[in-house]
Symmetry: C2
Amino acid sequence: MKKSSTANLYVALMHYPVVNKNGAVIASAVTNLDLHDIARAAKTYGVQSFYVVTPIEDQRKLVEDIVDHWTRGNGAAYNPNRRDAMELIRIRNSLEQVADDVRTQCGLNPRTVVTCARRKPECLGYGELREMIQTENPYILVFGTAWGLCEEVFAQADYVLEPVAGSTAYNHLSVRSAVAIILDRLMGPTSLTNSGRA
Amino acid sequence: MKKSSTANLYVALMHYPVVNKNGAVIASAVTNLDLHDIARAAKTYGVQSFYVVTPIEDQRKLVEDIVDHWTRGNGAAYNPNRRDAMELIRIRNSLEQVADDVRTQCGLNPRTVVTCARRKPECLGYGELREMIQTENPYILVFGTAWGLCEEVFAQADYVLEPVAGSTAYNHLSVRSAVAIILDRLMGPTSLTNSGRA
């Protein structure tokens, strides 16, 4: 079994196609702290690349400028740890482009695993996915912004991951928190029952 | 055993005394998304209150204004789910004030559990703390901002929680991500080995 730290796992943060509060399909604006928080979590859990997905040229330029500041500009010297995380960021137009990029990188066809705060039929459990990513097969974990991914993304996905579900009925985590928790469930310690932790 | 959803758990986010990049003690500025993300995670995992701690009057006023907007202002009508989370926020000057408030609320003396990205001697494990919070005793989980809590906070704490530690040596999560992961480890599903999850 491969070590968790080298799982062939990728994260994609989608800004299109997502829905707004009223269910209309929109392209959402990029949030600066999404880039930082998700890059840092991805680096912590050994994710291969963090794809920021938007078809809007101005938004791609904004992400490029932010990443450039932290990886080659003044930010890189100011905070090398941040640089190491921000270097994981790749900018793409669509999920298809992300899949193409992963295919080119590993020579294997990636599977998409879409996340959602609401339970969908035939969800994949964390335990199952945890085992699946211990192989060399590449998986792309797909996260939505705004009010969530639009239905066509679910329809085209290979798998839908079960919702995080805390210890209450409230299910309105930020995408930053959801990414952190899901990576910990997939790549963090297996068991919480002993203090040393597996 | 009490249900996890009713654990007597409190979260405190400290803006003083914390250290800057050079190890000097400072009061850090409040970050708007810390309030939102941590309130939403706290609500998801049944945390009793989320204390934002700063002795700076202007900063307390800023937090009050933000909380007011989302709990009583236009934000409350725009997004009632956000209101439910932001209602958990309490603003206090110091950790002593937080402890006093918890003591008044439950009539029991709270224990403080301080978090840190670096491993300290005699750390408390997640499994141990998970069992401890299943009692009626109140616990305050203490998080730092900026470059972390200053040493006196550790010296005065009842317990220090072991670091999150992902699947790599990189340990530079945002405080927003760290809170989310720690609450999931303490109050989320126990086991990740079966797909249904405990």
